[in-house]
């Protein structure tokens, strides 16, 4: 039966949230006016708070309704039908929630609400910020809640509701004409690529970052609005750090997900969807630097305004890019277009125009200093660093926006056929690598100048030790990699050497700062720690991407079209089942298809599973045991965790080590075959393996002609070049998957076939059921043979068996080594720790009065002395 109540409740909550956001926004606006503030009248503020709480409760109610629809499998709703299915485990139902645009808007709204409530309550001490900041928060919420409003007035559609019923979504489908209460029995399921634990936590982290970047923006706008041009920085600074770290972690989680799940062979593909978040992150980090520099030297306030505002506008631009459908061909994984582009564009433009207008209007009033910055002052280098970050962001922005130029030119009537660069990696690397070099140098020099006394002599003293260590360590690595075979690569590319050297310098320089702070006040070292993290990330990226080495080169000598012999990489190798191939130093062989079974660790060979009509159930054809423990016995019914997934067992053997990898392929009715890698992690490198192609599992096998053999017990015969022994027959009581009634008889033949690696036992079945002959052939996938028990000649004690032969199973495999990719992940963690340390410190400053800041500054002076 259709449940319309929950949808109506959800939809009503959306409307309440929308209206409450308007009320909160207006009331906070009124509360923030000069007149209201001076009069001490708190009624507007009380109203605004009430409205924002109503808005918050409504948002929670929307989330509850939508999750209930997914959790209870209410497929009468389009959202549940298109994003979920019956067999989805609960943690992936959470992913379903934000697979669609509407759910991810909800997630974004939820974080705004959470941060808004925190700001409302935490800002008790500096009350003057609550009204203007929350006015902006509520104003943003109006726009986002309008996206899921789902109100249609004439031809005008405002938002897309997640609570739309199937029968309204597909009003033309004949099934609803016959029965308006029709409810699909199952959903179409979650995109299999998103069925990954990172997809459970990556989107919330990213959207928390999105939401957190609103806080510094709101403070900056409030500062402009209320004429408090410099006071906003102190409360906004810890929030900027928080936004940067959550956004940064979110980006890296996405990168790790891509590394683990997609098969392009890396963690970063310069896809517009990835770039869209990377750009505001760079600008935000630039903004943090100018904020910190301003706090110390009262310089760069205008730049700070520009950067903080730009970072938020870029977040809106990212939203517009990924959700409006404008990327079209350019991206493989943007959201489905919901026809919201007009609304998204309005959202982006409203805030851009508002912010730029306020900034231009107040530009002359923003205090500046005429003082020149000395080359030996840290602030000078901090500003240069911010400029480099912005240039890096600008470069990615210019290229990523190419599809936007096409649309824009098309809009004004000019045809444009510009496309993204053919070799995107080379294009971006050309710039980003040098930005990395500049950033590494600047973090080292800037940090040393920041913490040491700013003059020539002491700077020289400070830089000597890190520089010496850098040169020593770098030469060691270069020599080891070039002269001895310690690493899998030779560090001989001059540009890579440069990046390596400067990154090492950044590590040592910042490390020397931590050592210096160790005796004084370690809590101040957040910046140094974060910078070490960044430098390590650069090193990790340098080695894992710059020296990524494909080991699955096809050396079989069998090539088509020799007209392009040299320049073409032949990066994939065909592996026949059980036929090892030498790849680099490994002997690699493919051993068959496996599946995941509930209650059994690891994977179970498909040969042991008898598939039933229910995709999710199978019957054990033999004892299922791992090591010595038997998990299931022959005949038991097994639950398959995800029947779409097939794991291909690939074993690697070298003189030093042996290991087995299980790269995965998923057959999905909507998306075809999707391959995901399996990765073997070593301390110094990762070995990354994925299947590129497998024989189409849905295609009927071509079994060739049936060959008949007449045998008696004990006979030996040759099948498809394998020696086989016919041991005899026995009567059996049960046939898997068949219901035997009284009077039915079933016998099975016992055969042994000697394969390359092991012996196989085949038990083809012959039965008489309801007076009809029935046969259950035995297929040995490893050997590519099918044996059918054809008949029994009872008089002569002879048995007739039939053998069909097919092409052996194979996979096409790509494998590569990624040296030192671990350094990238370690660097990410260290960077995050550094940021958290800085948040703690800046938050203390933010809560304390100016007096405390001067104290910190005195401490700093004391360290310098």
């Amino acid at each position: 039966m259709i449940n319309t109540l929950i949808g109506d409740f959800g939809h009503a909550s959306v409307i309440v949230a929308f209206v409450a956001a308007i009320v909160a926004s207006y009331a906070y606006f009124m509360a923030a006016r000069q007149k209201t503030e001076e009069s001490g009248d708190t009624t507007w503020r009380k109203l605004a708070r009430g409205a924002f709480y109503v808005h918050s409760i409504a948002v929670v109610a929307i989330i509850f309704s939508l999750f209930n629809i997914i959790y209870e499998h209410r497929y009468e709703y389009y959202y549940a039908w298109s994003h979920s299915s019956n067999h989805l485990p609960v943690h992936y139902m959470i992913s379903c929630f934000w697979e669609g645009q509407e759910g991810s808007f909800l997630l974004w709204m939820f974080w705004h609400v959470a941060l808004g409530v925190v700001l409302m309550n935490a800002g008790k001490k500096n009350k003057q910020w609550e009204a203007p900041v929350m006015a902006i928060f509520s104003f943003v919420q109006i726009f986002i809640s309008s996206m899921i409003l789902g109100v249609v007035i004439g031809d005008f559609k405002l938002g897309s509701s997640p609570f739309i019923l199937m029968r309204d979504f597909m009003a033309d489908a004949p099934v609803f004409a016959m029965d308006p209460n029709f409810k699909p029995a199952d959903g179409t399921g979650l995109n299999p690529l998103l069925q990954n634990y990172w997809m459970v936590i990556h989107p919330p982290t990213l959207f928390l970052g999105y939401a957190a970047s609103l806080v510094p923006f709101a403070f900056a706008i409030a500062g402009l609005w209320k004429g408090k041009f410099s006071e906003w920085i102190r409360p906004a600074l810890p929030w900027s750090h928080f936004a940067a770290v959550t956004l940064g972690i979110g980006i890296m989680m996405g990168a790790y997900w891509a590394y683990e799940t997609l098969n392009f062979g890396g963690y970063w593909n310069w896809d517009p969807v990835e770039n869209a978040v990377y750009i505001p992150w760079l600008v935000l980090v630039g903004g943090i630097h100018t904020m910190i520099a301003y706090r110390r030297s009262k310089q760069g306030l205008r730049a700070t305004f520009i950067l903080v505002i730009t970072s938020f506008v870029l977040i809106l631009y990212a939203t517009f890019l990924t959700r409006s459908g404008i990327l079209g061909n350019a991206s493989v994984h943007s959201f489905t277009d919901l026809g919201l582009s007009g609304q998204l564009f309005t959202y982006m433009m409203a805030f851009t125009v508002l912010a730029i207008g306020l900034l231009v209007y107040n530009w002359k009033k923003i205090p500046t200093t005429e003082k020149e910055l000395s080359t030996y002052s840290a602030e000078f280098w901090v500003f240069i660093g911010a400029a480099v970050l912005c240039l890096a962001a600008f470069q990615v922005l210019v290229t990523t926006s190419i599809p936007v130029y096409n649309s824009f030119l098309g809009f004004i009537g000019i045809e444009s056929n510009a496309a993204l660069p053919a070799d995107q990696i080379a294009h971006y690397t050309k710039f980003q690598l040098w930005a990395g070099v500049a950033i590494a140098i600047l973090t080292g020099i800037g940090q040393l100048l920041w913490w040491k006394k700013a003059n020539k002599k002491s700077f020289k003293d400070a830089i000597t030790m890190p520089l010496m260590l850098t040169l020593l360590f770098a030469s060691l690595v270069i020599i080891l990699s070039n002269k001895f075979d310690i690493f899998t690569f030779k560090l001989d590319n001059p540009v890579y050497i440069l990046l390596f050297v400067v990154s090492l310098f950044a590590v040592f320089a910042n490390f020397s700062i931590i050592l210096g702070l160790l005796q004084k006040k370690i809590t101040l070292s957040g910046g140094a720690v974060a910078h070490i993290g960044i430098a390590l990330m650069l090193i990790g990226i340098l080695f894992s991407s710059g020296y990524s080495n494909i080991i699955s080169q096809n050396n079989s000598g069998m090539l088509y079209s020799r007209e392009f012999p040299d320049e073409i990489n032949r990066d994939n190798v065909l592996l026949w089942r059980n036929t090892p191939v030498q790849m680099d130093r490994f002997k690699v062989s493919y051993h068959g298809q496996f599946q995941e079974v509930k209650g059994v660790p690891g994977y179970v060979n498909k040969e042991l599973l008898y598939q039933t009509d229910d995709m999710y159930k199978a019957i054990a054809r033999g004892n299922i045991q791992v090591k010595d423990k038997v998990y299931f016995e022959t005949g038991d019914t097994l639950d398959l965790i995800s029947p779409e997934n097939t794991y291909y067992e690939v074993s690697y053997a070298s003189e030093k080590e042996n290991f087995v990898l299980y790269p995965r392929a998923q057959v999905n009715p909507n998306m075809g075959l999707l391959a995901s890698p399996d990765i073997k992690h070593f301390a110094g490198k990762d070995l990354y393996t994925h299947v590129s192609t497998v024989p189409d599992p849905n295609e009927e096998k071509d079994w060739g002609e049936l060959q008949e053999y007449e045998v008696s017990a004990g006979d030996t015969l040759v099948i498809n070049d394998y020696i086989a022994v016919f041991n005899g027959i026995e009567q059996i009581e049960q046939v898997p998957g068949v219901q035997l009634a009284e009077g039915d008889v079933a016998v099975q033949a016992a055969m042994k076939i000697m394969g390359e690696r092991k012996n196989y036992h085949a038990h083809p079945v012959l039965m008489i059921k309801d007076q009809m002959m029935g046969r259950v052939p035995e297929i040995i996938e490893d050997l590519g043979i099918r044996i059918t028990f054809l008949n029994i000649d009872t008089e002569n004690h002879k048995f007739k068996i039939g053998v069909n032969v097919t092409q052996k199973d194979y996979i096409i495999l790509k494998a590569m080594e990624k040296p030192f990719v671990n350094i990238l992940w370690i660097g990410t963690i260290i960077m995050s720790i550094g940021f958290v340390m800085a948040i703690v410190r800046r938050n203390k400053e933010g809560n304390g009065g100016e007096g405390k800041v001067t104290k910190v500054r005195e401490e700093r002076k004391a360290q310098v002395a």
Partner: protein
């Protein structure tokens, strides 16, 4: 001149440099005719071509060649561009899964020795994200 002005000028100069380089690196969507012209002029820039797979009257794809047993890294097919120009395309990688189901194919590469050598293939499959059919046969009420 103040130091900050000099830096400002450098930043602007670099920004212009970035725009120029991007304009130079940006590829274009062209027809096979243009791609052949480019190759004749000795220009090996990589371009994007949008097309459909060649099909016979029954809707079967023709001219597709992939034999992994012989060479897993050789895949050839015939693409018909928007000007209905047929061109042989070679891709030195395994055949992308789902290739047959694609409605539209975008390839990146250039002409070499009478064939278009693609180094990237992007498929647009009609059923990928738009689910406009409900299977009623399995559905219960």
């Amino acid at each position: 001149m103040k130091k900050s002005h000099i830096i400002g000028i450098i930043v602007i100069a670099m920004a212009i440099g970035i725009i120029m380089t991007t304009a130079g690196d940006a590829s274009t969507y062209v027809s096979f005719g243009d791609a052949i012209e480019l190759a004749k002029d000795g220009n090996s820039t990589k371009v994007h071509v949008v097309g459909r797979l060649k099909k016979d009257d029954q809707g079967h794809i023709v001219g597709m060649h992939y034999e992994p047993m012989k060479d897993p890294n050789y895949f050839a097919f015939t693409l018909v561009d928007t000007n209905r120009f047929e061109q042989r395309v070679v891709y030195f990688n395994p055949k992308p899964q789902d290739f047959e189901r694609s409605e539209q194919v975008v390839i990146t590469g250039n002409m070499q020795n009478e064939v278009f050598v693609a180094d990237k293939i992007l498929l647009k499959c009609p059923s990928k994200y738009t689910e406009n059919e409900i299977q009623t046969n399995t559905a219960g009420i």
